[in-house]
């Protein structure tokens, strides 16, 4: 809020929210906190302590959105960011210590010149966006959470591996991410700091406070694993480029993309991976971000080819007032062996390569649904027996091409179009029909060919009687009549 109205910065200011039928404080600024106010305090009490308080209703939905946006912005530091709310509802905005963003910074810090420099950069940038931020980096999730929120006044702090225990000991017990009731109970028995818990025998602790305390403690100390992200490759496939001056010209963006691709492809080659999906993110100085995603038909780490795929979409990026940073992440990567030498690779392999390359380009511009191959199925129903499916898709039911003795049309109408037709008799051949307002007189016909419905399918329809007919000008049509004696045009012969 104080980001939008700078005047609020110098006044005690709180956000209120209704909880259990009374108005409570949900968030407050430093001045208000210094005056002795605290979250969850009733508004009436707060007013009594500080009558000059500025009050605003809280907007949790907007806060959540802002936080998600900020988490996306943090993508410049690590490919894995999260607001944490989805894996741990207790830690949502309302939880102790307010909102936070998780970053899995494994292997990312060197891009910024070390952990300290990365956190300093992060806090500095977030402050220029108008937020107050605190950052901590530790070997465990719980450790970082505790230090960021409960440690001394440093805006950022890096806890080196092995120092977590020492860093946590002087912190208040609330830093263990415990529910308020448990914290209160621990206080009652005189346990105020994490250090008090560290050396306690575990048995009685668990007996008294259930698993909660032990679980959180173990997680913070790294005794149990606390999974943060699902599966992350050991070397994160990410490349980053920051600009001294924001760039905005398309050619500059293309050149930067090419540079990122070169660096990422080199990394992928080192770890034997190839990208199936790449995400290019651009970050603007005002904290907004845009991204382009491209996919490939098979694992690829050819900068030239990938650049062509991106080139199609670079125009979609609106640089607005400039781009100050870009990252490129291989969101999906697959193991890819090094290219064999050309000895074994004949013309076929080369043509397969160029085929895959052109399919990638077509799919990325036209959509993967629109690039297809032929597909045959074991079925008598014409529209089901053959068609086209997206190239990347593997269909479970697939048969070889079936040979039908009876002629099949060159073009099939999907779905068949109903026509007005006149037949010799109710079960006889058609004499004339009208399709798309044109009347066709039938001079010769072949049929009927009975196509029975497939009884094992639930959407069973009527049997159809197909006729191949020719009109007086030589066009040949494929008509059928269902058992309700309605006529349909299903296809046209060549």
């Amino acid at each position: 809020m104080s980001r939008i109205t700078p005047a609020l910065r110098d006044k005690p200011f709180v956000l209120v929210q209704e909880r259990q039928a009374r108005l409570c404080l949900s968030a407050l600024n430093n001045l208000a906190e210094r005056a002795g106010l605290a979250p969850h305090m009733a508004l009436a009490n707060a007013r009594a302590i500080m009558p000059s308080l500025t009050i605003h209703p809280a907007a949790p939905a907007a806060d959540g959105k802002m936080l998600a946006q900020l988490a996306q912005w943090c993508g410049r530091y690590s490919p894995w960011t999260s607001t944490g709310t989805e894996n741990d509802p207790e830690l949502s905005l309302e939880g102790a210590g307010g909102a936070g963003i998780w970053l899995d910074a494994t292997g990312c810090a060197h891009l910024f010149g070390g952990e300290d420099a990365m956190l300093a950069d992060m806090v500095g940038r977030i402050e220029t966006l108008g937020f107050t931020a605190r950052a901590a980096m530790a070997e465990t999730l719980g450790g970082a959470w505790a230090v960021a929120r409960f440690s001394s006044n440093d805006a950022w702090k890096v806890i080196l591996p092995g120092e977590t225990r020492a860093a946590l000991a002087p912190l208040a017990i609330a830093a263990l991410r415990l529910p308020p009731a448990t914290v209160l109970a621990l206080h009652e028995v005189g346990l105020r700091y994490i250090g008090d818990l560290l050396d306690m025998p575990r048995g009685p602790l668990v007996a008294r406070f259930e698993k909660d305390v032990r679980l959180r403690l173990d997680a913070a100390l790294g005794r149990t694993a606390e999974p943060l992200s699902p599966i992350l490759p050991k070397t994160p496939l990410i490349a980053r480029l920051a600009f001294a001056e924001p760039i905005g010209h398309r050619d500059d963006i293309a050149a930067a993309t090419s540079k990122l691709l070169d660096s990422l492809c080199a990394t992928m080659e080192k770890v034997g991976q190839g990208a199936r999906r790449l995400v290019l993110s651009v970050y603007r100085p005002d904290g907004s971000a845009a991204r382009i995603t491209i996919g490939t038909a098979r694992a690829n780490r050819e900068p030239q080819h990938l650049l062509r795929l991106f080139a199609e979409h670079l125009d979609e990026i609106d640089p607005e007032f400039g781009i100050d940073e870009m990252t490129l992440v291989a969101a999906t990567a697959e193991p890819m062996t090094a290219d064999q030498s050309n000895l074994q690779r004949g013309a076929t392999a080369q043509s397969t390569d160029s085929y895959n390359a052109v399919i990638d380009r077509l799919t990325n511009r036209l959509g993967s649904r629109n690039v297809r191959r032929t597909h045959f199925r074991e079925s008598h129903i014409p529209e089901r027996a053959a068609g086209f499916i997206p190239i990347g898709k593997i269909h479970p039911i697939q048969t070889d091409q079936r040979d039908t003795d009876t002629p099949r049309p060159l073009r099939l109408l999907r779905p068949a179009e109903q026509v007005e037709a006149v037949a010799e008799s109710t079960d006889g051949p058609p004499v004339l029909f009208r399709w798309r307002r044109v009347l066709h007189h039938i001079t010769s016909y072949e049929g009927p060919e009975r196509v029975a419905p497939e009884w094992w399918r639930s959407d069973t329809e009527n049997p159809r009687d197909y006729y191949r007919v020719e009109n007086e000008t030589g066009q040949r049509f494929w008509l059928y009549r269902n058992s309700e004696t309605s006529w349909f045009l299903h296809g046209v012969f060549g």
């Binding site: 085929y355 077509l362 511009r365 629109n370 191959r373 053959a386 020719e470 040949r476 046209v492 012969f493």
Partner: protein, 248 residues
């Protein structure tokens, strides 16, 4: 004269060796009227439907060309479907197979805009992954057809435009422009006695042929041998006289 022609061609196409393998529909009467004595495999062709209802007949003629090409030079074929251009349903693999073209060679691109089709065709031609690229387009500007013709020549692939019926086909850089119309079939033997339709019969007009003579032929598809033949003169529909005034 021949030397001069070869000289001009060499100027036009620096990489051309003069030893180009041609393909043929199997009809010597047509080959004789073409400048090279056959169908060049690296060129742009255009096939127009005569009437809206003839879209399928034009499709059939395109498939015949593709079958003739792939039978001597096997390779992938890209087919750009465009509902806005043809409006006659999508091609049906079993029907294509019966016309002699192996459907597994086909890669399909589904679009609804001419510009996407032309872009996809050029990408495909320049990729060297296809021996032939077909696009269904409503209309094509002269420059776009010139680009396709160049891309086809440079990458040694066939480009084929399948267009719906139009009164104004416009200018085009295609080496051959055909207009196809369905013609009544001539059932033989059993089919004739049962009054069943015979095999496909097309009234085709080559209204522009670079360096060759335009002409009109009545062709008949032969299911047994999977190729075209001129409709036999024993039927009471003789081949129509050549109409040389129809230049594109």
């Amino acid at each position: 004269m021949e030397n001069l022609r070869a000289h001009i061609r060499a100027l036009e196409r620096p990489g051309w060796t003069g030893q180009e393998k041609l393909f043929s529909l199997g009809i010597p009467e047509i080959d004789r009227q073409l400048s090279a004595g056959g169908f060049p495999p690296a060129a742009l062709y255009e096939v127009l439907a005569d009437q809206p209802i003839d879209a399928s007949a034009a499709t059939g003629f395109c498939i015949t060309l593709l079958t003739a090409l792939t039978s001597y030079r096997k390779g992938r074929v890209l087919w750009c479907l465009n509902d806005n251009a043809t409006d006659a349903g999508e091609i049906y693999p079993p029907g294509i197979k019966q016309h002699g073209l192996d459907p597994s060679l086909l890669t399909i691109v589904k679009t609804t805009r001419d510009t996407d089709v032309l872009w996809a065709m050029e990408e495909a031609l320049r990729s060297n992954a296809f021996v032939a690229v077909l696009g269904e387009v409503k209309g094509i500007p002269m420059t776009a057809s010139r680009r396709l013709q160049l891309a086809a020549e440079e990458n040694d692939a066939l480009a084929l435009l399948l267009r719906p019926a139009t009164q104004t086909p416009g200018l085009s850089a295609a080496v051959q422009r055909w207009r196809v119309k369905a013609a009544p079939s001539h059932p033989r033997g059993f089919a004739a006695t049962l009054n069943e339709p015979g095999t496909a019969c097309w009234h085709t007009t080559l209204f522009r042929s670079r360096g060759g003579t335009p002409g009109t032929w009545l062709m008949e598809w032969c299911n047994e041998t999977n190729h075209l033949a001129l409709a036999s003169p024993v039927c009471d529909r003789p081949v129509e006289p050549h109409n040389t005034s129809l230049t594109g």
